[in-house]
Symmetry: C2
Subunit: 237 residues, 2 copies
């Protein structure tokens, strides 16, 4: 990830920071964000409590670091899949959705940290919006090849108005799908993306929260159905 620091001291520092985050992630996995406790991290990593303040200025700072890492990690995972997508947008959609589900299933606690209920008392840093968009970017490209049908046209309408007004979104459209904000396909692309996001989140979060336990179906099958429906609606080839 980060470029290897030059001096030994800096390298050691990086290592300790990583150790701390690793234990914090384990606590996150075991008891949710509230269970991330500096006191216990210190004990596990073999330091005394106050020593952690050399590495993170406080608890929120540590949480923020975990949030950023999770977004970046998700974006990287999706990005890897996005780099080698087949020509068929329909197949591409299924592959992307699968990558999303796989990432979330492999690290449920990290998924819930960035996409679950907001952590009380914790305010996510403003740059998370940009990071979230990096995860969804590849979907924009796919749906820009879609066709607008009646079922989703009101949503697409709202979306294209948004694109015309919000510069950050315009940049996003340009970066991932080479679309101008006033392009007719912009609304379609955004509508498809937000629908895909919502479908993914619905399935993944119910699965990851254990709500599907005891039910006779796999999240994978369900996700396939949902992506089929989207591909049908947007007439993806």
């Amino acid at each position: 990830m980060t470029a290897a620091p030059s001096s030994p001291r800096a390298r050691y520092r990086e290592q300790t920071r990583a150790d701390i985050k690793e234990i914090a992630l384990r606590q996150l996995a075991e008891g949710g964000p509230e269970a991330v406790a500096l006191t216990r991290i210190a004990k596990e990593v073999g330091l005394s409590g106050p020593a952690l303040y050399r590495y993170f200025s406080n608890r929120d700072d540590l949480l923020t670091s975990l949030v950023r890492d999770a977004y970046d990690d998700a974006a990287t995972a999706i990005g890897h899949t996005a780099d080698r997508l087949p020509d068929s947008p329909r197949e591409a959609l299924h592959l992307l959705a699968g990558a999303y589900l796989d990432w979330a299933s492999a690290a449920p606690h990290r998924y819930l940290l960035i996409q679950g209920s907001p952590v009380p008392g914790y305010a996510a840093p403003p740059d998370t919006v940009g990071r979230a968009r990096a995860v969804l970017g590849p979907f924009v490209k796919i749906f820009s090849a879609g066709e607008l049908t009646d079922s989703v046209s009101p949503l697409a309408g709202e979306m294209s108005t948004w694109a015309a007004q919000d510069e950050a979104v315009a940049g996003w459209l340009r970066e991932y799908a080479d679309l101008a904000p006033d392009d007719a396909r912009a609304g379609t692309a955004l509508a498809g993306t937000v629908l895909a996001w919502s479908a993914l989140h619905g399935t993944v979060s119910l699965e990851v929260s254990g709500q599907y336990t005891g039910m006779g179906h796999s999240a994978k099958t369900q996700l396939t159905s949902q992506m089929n429906m989207l591909a049908d609606t947007f007439r993806l080839a």
Copy 2:
């Protein structure tokens, strides 16, 4: 809700229990489940801490009470809509989905309590599964009038296997849609229901967690699109 108790003492007791729950709900709304604290509740209700143990045997018991109430309340709200549905299954689906969204938006914290990330350290009582099914029951009926199409047939297949094996589900199908578990429509009905549930949860939870803040669309429009897609896929009239 509960039948008015006879004796004055019992009535007073019911009232105090209700007061406690009301304050607990406010704390839930303000800081999530972790913020529900007996000590502070006692202070607000004008009692000393230990007095609460006359009303709830411990903190988990209070939380469980809130969970049950939330399910029942949701089921009642959905039930009211379900009682006067139009003949068209397509319109009925939109109305039900709207009722679901409305309930969740009106009480986001209660929605997250029963459908959000699991509360660490808290185990939901076993009867919540049944209560959750009461909320989704009306959807089963709607989709039992649906047609099975390619996009969702693998999911419906898994679902009908499940119905054949799980007696509780068989009972559920019978109660809400008058279907035998080996009826060909059982898989269709269940597949539609779980897809609707997932779509609802995706939209509602992203909305309720504030993830749509700053985006140029309404959850309502998005939900309409999703229900349109479902109605199309299941060929609802």
